[in-house]
Symmetry: C2
Amino acid sequence: MSMVRANIAISLDGFIAGPNQSEENGLGEGGEALHEWAFPLAAFQEVHGREGGEENASSQVLEESFANVGARVMGRNMFGGGPGPWDEHDPWNGWWGDEPPFSTPVYVLTHHEREPLEFENGTVFHFVTDGIESALEQARAAAGEEDIHLPGGAETINEYLAAGEVDELLLHVVPVLLGDGARLFEGVGPDVALEQLQAVEAPGVTHVKYRVG
Amino acid sequence: MSMVRANIAISLDGFIAGPNQSEENGLGEGGEALHEWAFPLAAFQEVHGREGGEENASSQVLEESFANVGARVMGRNMFGGGPGPWDEHDPWNGWWGDEPPFSTPVYVLTHHEREPLEFENGTVFHFVTDGIESALEQARAAAGEEDIHLPGGAETINEYLAAGEVDELLLHVVPVLLGDGARLFEGVGPDVALEQLQAVEAPGVTHVKYRVG
């Protein structure tokens, strides 16, 4: 049965990006610290098309988080390119370079129409202008029996959580305080029930997985 | 070497009490869910003067959190009794009944002077009106080689964190969203460094311990 899964690294004070996110710094001030636990891992390097790297308690968690994903839905800011119509930006406009680490259809929530953007590794960005339910419907059709992954950002995950559309939430809880930024669970209230499924201690991070709904 | 330790249960969205805390409901709306993992435990029942209860992966964490504590510092709201001078309230004024579960000196941060309040089980509440540094100094003198424990509330822990006075932070991360309430880390910024020491998966809760400073 296909699930909607959100996987995200979060600071101990609840932010998934630091303050003052910009076109140059999509993670915001201090936000790169949220991902330091992942950089050394072979599983991370492989997804980004590189060899080498190490194994630790995070490896299996990360491999499972990438496995069985048939489609993704992300926010405009996570795709990159800044606000406004697309023709105000570079032709590419994303954070992700020539090999976006997705290898699936990715449905980007935006207010501005744009033709799909296709990459050799199987990543195809589709731009969806008619809301989160439409994006999810298209992702479900593309994913088939596989899961739908919500990589972020906070606003997108919060909207799907509040709409009751998320089945599983995997948080990588990082020992850093950002003080400000993009807050997970903003506008998501006590109506959303959580059940703890698993917690994994790993170097510099704790992974906690929840069933939602 | 004596340490300052903060131990606290926290919702996944970062609150240690729900909204609308009152003299009748010190945990705020929904806040009792933060402590449900602890109620069945023998270690919890014992501290509250009762027998029975079960053992699970939380037991050792809870026992260690109660061990080697020589003094405590808590906020006025956690002591209870509501705002304003003490003589506007009942003679007792606390949440904790006739056997407060502390068995140590407890320094209560308040703006209103009051004589110490002593209980047969060794709990003595001292009321400190000249600030957090004074309270900590008195607690250090009372604790000797033992640790100083900060049971809460959020404001008190946040003040000591921001002042750089906390050595160790143990969070009991509970799979519940409160949506609003008393937020841990409010006003505590990226200057406070954390190092993850331990994470323990337990039924209905994940315990994560950090070195602070």
